[in-house]
């Protein structure tokens, strides 16, 4: 464990505040670019209202969306097992101070404990390394987009065409429900569970960061054009802005399997990252994990 310039629970509360009140700059630029090319008047109204809301949220320091979602954490570098308790403490504090809407409930009784915690919450992915830093990243997703998560175990013979078919159908069948235009996170390969995890982790990656794999990069660009040509548009009301970006992650899989998963990020794909070293903390709003 490295020596920390600030307690982890306070860093976590800062991350939740930043992610909820400030849209990642890359997504803001993508929205502005979309508003520039969009010609459908109703779609322009939607994009204008979104950008207006983003500005108000940042100036007033308030959550841009009332669904402050469920956070997923990624912890990378050097850390102790106690980090889970620190994150829990940070969530409890942020729920009061930001404030966050109490969203977590028992799945069967639907009882809400009011603190955004409870059995299995929050979801934390641990990536231990020998590096002399600690990176804490958080992705916030509301239920509108999370409920549209889809995964499939395709046949290997379905190939790239089959994968694209599944992605396009998942996005278009979701319609206006996940608040388009957003980011499409895709996982290809791995095990079934790892595939869904990859699709969500892909949403942490800034839109201006290029995919290092040329095949995946081409798929991302192709899907971006196809989805924006679909006509779904902002909020599913029509137009040529359906997605702001497509991000794909891949892993090897069983020779008899072709897993694919789609995680849809709404226009408010909220992320924040703290990179902590012994000398200080740097905050950003995206990272390749």
């Amino acid at each position: 464990m490295i020596k920390l310039p600030e307690p982890i629970d306070r860093v976590v509360a800062n991350l939740l505040k930043a992610a909820n009140t400030k849209l990642p700059p890359d997504i803001g630029w993508a929205l502005e670019a979309a508003a520039g090319w969009e010609s459908d008047p109703l779609a322009r109204t939607q994009l204008g209202a979104i950008m207006d809301n983003v500005k108000k949220a940042e100036v007033l320091g308030r959550p841009m969306c009332q669904d402050t979602g469920i956070p997923t954490f990624y912890v990378k570098g050097r850390f102790d097992a106690s980090i889970r308790n620190d994150i829990i403490k940070g969530i409890r504090a942020a729920t009061e101070t930001v404030p966050l809407r109490p969203n977590t409930v028992d799945p069967l009784t639907r009882k809400n404990l009011g603190d955004n915690l409870g059995e299995g919450m929050p979801s934390i992915h641990y990536i231990p390394t020998d590096d002399n830093f600690l990176e804490i990243a958080v992705l916030i997703k509301g239920a509108g987009s999370e409920n549209m998560t889809r995964s499939a175990m395709l046949n290997p013979s379905d190939g790239i065409e089959g994968i694209k078919r599944f992605i396009v159908d998942s996005v278009l069948d979701a319609g206006g429900r996940p608040c388009p235009p957003g980011v499409i996170g895709v996982g290809i390969g791995g095990t079934a569970d790892e595939c869904v995890a990859m699709s969500k982790r892909a949403l942490m990656s800034p839109l201006d960061r290029e995919n290092g794999d040329p095949v995946l990069k081409e798929m991302e660009e192709d899907l971006f054009v196809k989805l924006n040509g679909s006509g779904l548009g902002p909020m599913g009301l029509g137009g040529s802005t359906t997605v702001l970006g497509v991000k794909i992650k891949a892993a090897c899989c069983h020779t008899a399997s072709l897993p694919v998963a789609v995680s849809i990020g709404c226009w408010a794909t909220r992320r924040a990252v703290a990179r902590i070293t012994e000398t200080g903390i740097e905050y950003e709003q995206g990272a390749d994990l």
Binding site: T45, I50, N53, A57, D67, N112, G144, M235, G238
Partner: protein, 188 residues
Amino acid sequence: MRELRTPLSEKAVRELRAGDTVYLTGEVVTGRDEMHMRAVEYARGGKPIPEGLENSILFHCGPIMVKEGGRWRTVAAGPTTSSRMDLLGPEMIKRFGIRAVIGKGGMSEKVGDAMREAGCVYLAAVGGTAVSIAESVVEVQGAEWEDLGMAEAMWILKVERMGPLTVAMDSEGGSLYDNVRKRLIRDV
């Protein structure tokens, strides 16, 4: 661009057409999954329903509220996904005389039929624009069924120029969602 003021008459609602953009001033009542279930259960069982729901504008929203000096303040109040309320939508509209439903993403054909029958429209708020809508709330007039939790409770809000809202399903069966869906290009 049209200005709407509550209470909305059936005539005013029936004049709205899919594609119109409106701003709303007056009273709206929030309700999502739990509120729908309880309202229908109580009404079927003859139990009293909080005042304000009858002939109201139903806003699919689970807001963030804070209590300051004994009064509620709206921090964030964007629309939630309406299709979750598809099942109880028709009964809500007919039983309580709902004149407009505000939400996002649209509702089922059955809800559209109920809207046509009862004289009701679906107004699409821009998803995620929670601060802008909260800023249009001038007063929190009531908090009912608070035991359901902040997101699921029934909040009675006085709004001024809430919007832009798009008439996405009208009382004549017109639906922007259907129009878009029929023309979707599903190329890969």
